[in-house]
């Protein structure tokens, strides 16, 4: 592995580049379609457009299926294969497997979205009871997810083959290469989970089995992976971007980075218990164990955050960066990828603070069916994960196509704007959740019967949603412009720092630890506020079995 990643990507064979470009293009289409569905739902909830509930739920289904499943997983496949090919430096091994995986995912997308476009809206979890009278539709919907699952086994297998070939040549993997290897394995397990969860519904629809009785419980297996797999991928993307865009490698060494990447796979599965907090028959001891285990879930993410921020700070100070925060200005913010990754880190902090409120056994039953959930998880899905993946594409696609982003000077401000929109959407959404505004309803005003404050908060949610949707779409379109023939060639990137230069002796790295301290204080504050606010509400929690 020699030279910058963009040079290694530019040197890939036309066949490899075609596959990576095709996957990236379809993932961007899924993102844009999903955003459009989400905007429709947000506007309808605020009462700004009039939708019959069925149309609203259909948009919600298309939003969830398009973004959670096809954008997030297809783009992960594209980024994984691109970085794996870059790691080896000799192109993809098993490209046919990659194409087969892509064809499976694409077929799945057509089937899932096609089935979601008519009939009873199934929402993204495809509850079979909703389609009890439409077995054909459920068959198509579930077959789509099963094809996606098969694709998620085939696509990463091509990445694994590529990485193993690199090890056979060089005898070792870089920290990023090891992370890609672990990520590929986790993707394949998620593919298996998709098949395991959605096969019973397909068999029932085809008359080959009974109606699945525990889809809700099984759904959380997929859901847990959907939550943490993109987050692991995001941290890997940050790690690579800091090397490729800024030029900085971890000051803690490759070995420690590998340990943290492996920690994702050690910490994430045992924490899956917290999804069961709404199950009324879950024993109390298990509930307590789940609550304690859930505390570990952010350990790898926060540690990776510390590694990256501390490494950047130490190198920035070696280059003359001054003041507690002054060094941050030295980062190459004019690069859209840097701006997107930078704001992704900020949004992750908000997301983690709020996530910890929701994974506590006492609060989960009260909040899980409220608008708190979409309020907090958009900080992750839009603000952290989608921005990071778009940042990765902003690096990868120009290298593959030789064409630059459209209006990069505008694109680099879109992460700022998306974060602003998120603060309105997520902030108002979280407050609405604390006040009991339900999620998954299209008319949140209940025909004028709901408290007046609910309508005001949903207005802030819709306004923020519009802003973040517009910003994300513009950033995605700027990246997508690299796919259009005849566009200008890629502009030179900002000069990278000399990441191999030794840091200044005694240089302090304070912002990372300070950031973690602020996050912990925020978690405590959000939890205390949650308890205080809900004690004041005349409601009593009952087990629902939905979770989030």
């Amino acid at each position: 592995m020699n030279g910058p990643l963009v040079d290694r990507l530019a040197a890939l064979s036309p066949g490899d580049r075609r596959l990576l470009v095709a996957m990236s293009s379809i993932s961007l289409l899924a993102l844009l379609g999903g955003i459009a569905g989400g905007v429709g739902v947000a506007l309808a909830r605020a009462g700004w457009i009039d939708l019959i509930p069925e149309a609203g739920y259909r948009l919600l289904t298309l939003h969830g299926v398009g973004i959670f499943f096809y954008w997030l997983f297809l783009v992960q496949g594209a980024i994984l294969l691109a970085l794996a090919a870059g790691e080896g430096g000799r192109g993809l091994v098993g490209r046919g497997l990659g194409w087969a995986g892509f064809a499976l995912v694409l077929s799945g997308m057509v089937m899932s979205l096609g089935a979601a476009s008519g009939g009873t809206p199934l929402l993204y979890d495809g509850n079979p009871e909703l389609a009890a009278h439409e077995p054909g539709r459920l068959a198509a919907f579930n077959a789509g997810y099963i094809l996606l699952g098969l694709g998620l086994i085939a696509l990463p297998a091509a990445g694994v083959a590529t990485l193993l070939a690199a090890v056979r040549r060089a005898g070792s993997l870089s920290a990023a290469g090891f992370a890609l290897f672990a990520w590929a394995g986790f993707l394949m397990v998620s593919g298996f989970a998709m098949i395991y969860v959605f096969l019973p519904g397909l068999l029932w629809a085809l008359g080959l089995g009974d109606m699945p009785a525990n889809h809700g419980t099984n759904w959380h297996i997929v859901f847990h992976n959907m939550h943490y797999l993109p987050l692991m991928a995001t941290v890997i993307v940050w790690y690579v971007l800091m090397q490729e865009v800024v030029g900085v490698k971890s000051i803690f060494g490759a070995r420690f980075s590998k340990l943290i990447f492996a920690a994702y796979l050690v910490f994430v599965p045992p924490t899956s218990l917290y999804h069961m907090f709404l199950e009324p028959d879950l024993p109390g001891a298990v509930r307590i164990a789940g609550s304690l285990l859930s505390l570990f879930v952010s350990v790898p993410t926060l540690t990776a955050f510390l590694i990256i921020v501390a490494s950047l700070e130490v190198h920035a100070r070696a280059r003359g960066g001054r003041g507690l925060f002054g060094w941050i200005g030295a980062l190459p913010w004019r690069e859209p990828a840097m701006a997107a990754a930078g704001f992704a880190v900020v949004n992750m902090a908000f997301g983690i603070v709020l996530a910890f409120v929701l994974i506590q056994a006492e609060l989960a039953p009260l909040l899980s069916d409220t608008f708190f959930v979409p309020g907090y998880f958009h900080f992750f899905t839009v603000g952290t994960v989608s921005l990071s993946f778009l940042a990765a594409l902003a690096l990868i696609l120009p290298a593959l196509t030789g064409r630059g982003l459209a209006l990069p000077g505008v694109a680099r401000f879109m992460p700022h704007l998306a974060t602003l929109g998120l603060l309105s959407f997520g902030g108002a959404g979280v407050v609405a959740g604390y006040l009991g505004v339900p999620r998954r309803v299209i008319d949140a005003g209940y025909g004028g019967e709901a408290p007046a404050l609910w309508a005001t908060l949903m207005g802030w949610v819709a306004a923020g949603g519009l802003v973040m949707a517009m910003a994300l779409m513009l950033f995605a379109l700027s990246v997508a412009a690299t796919l259009l023939p005849g566009r200008a060639s890629v502009a030179a990137m900002s000069p990278r720092w000399d990441g191999t230069a030794p840091p200044r002796p005694g240089a302090a790295a304070l912002v990372g630890p300070l950031g973690v301290l602020v996050i912990v204080i925020g978690m405590y504050g959000a939890t205390a506020a949650g308890f205080e606010l809900m004690r004041a509400l005349p409601v009593e929690a009952v087990g629902g079995g939905h979770a989030h």
């Binding site: 394995g185 024993p283 298990v286």
Partner: protein
């Protein structure tokens, strides 16, 4: 590479223990977790073995 391989085998071991715990859990309906984490344990074991084999070939060439 020994460190990398050990990490992958550790993941396989943790997932196997988790799958076993879910398989033996007395409350119902969570056998799916045992299947998924069990599949994961087997997969990471296979990945660890493949990585060890590739590393031996690579070290032989070096």
């Amino acid at each position: 590479m020994k460190f990398d391989i050990t990490l992958i085998f550790t993941v396989a071991a943790v997932w196997a223990a988790l799958a076993l715990a879910y398989a033996l859990a007395p409350w119902s309906g969570m056998i799916g977790y045992a299947w998924v984490w069990g599949f994961g344990a087997a997969l990471f074991l296979a990945l660890g073995l493949a990585l060890r084999r590739a590393a031996r070939i690579g070290e032989g060439r070096a």
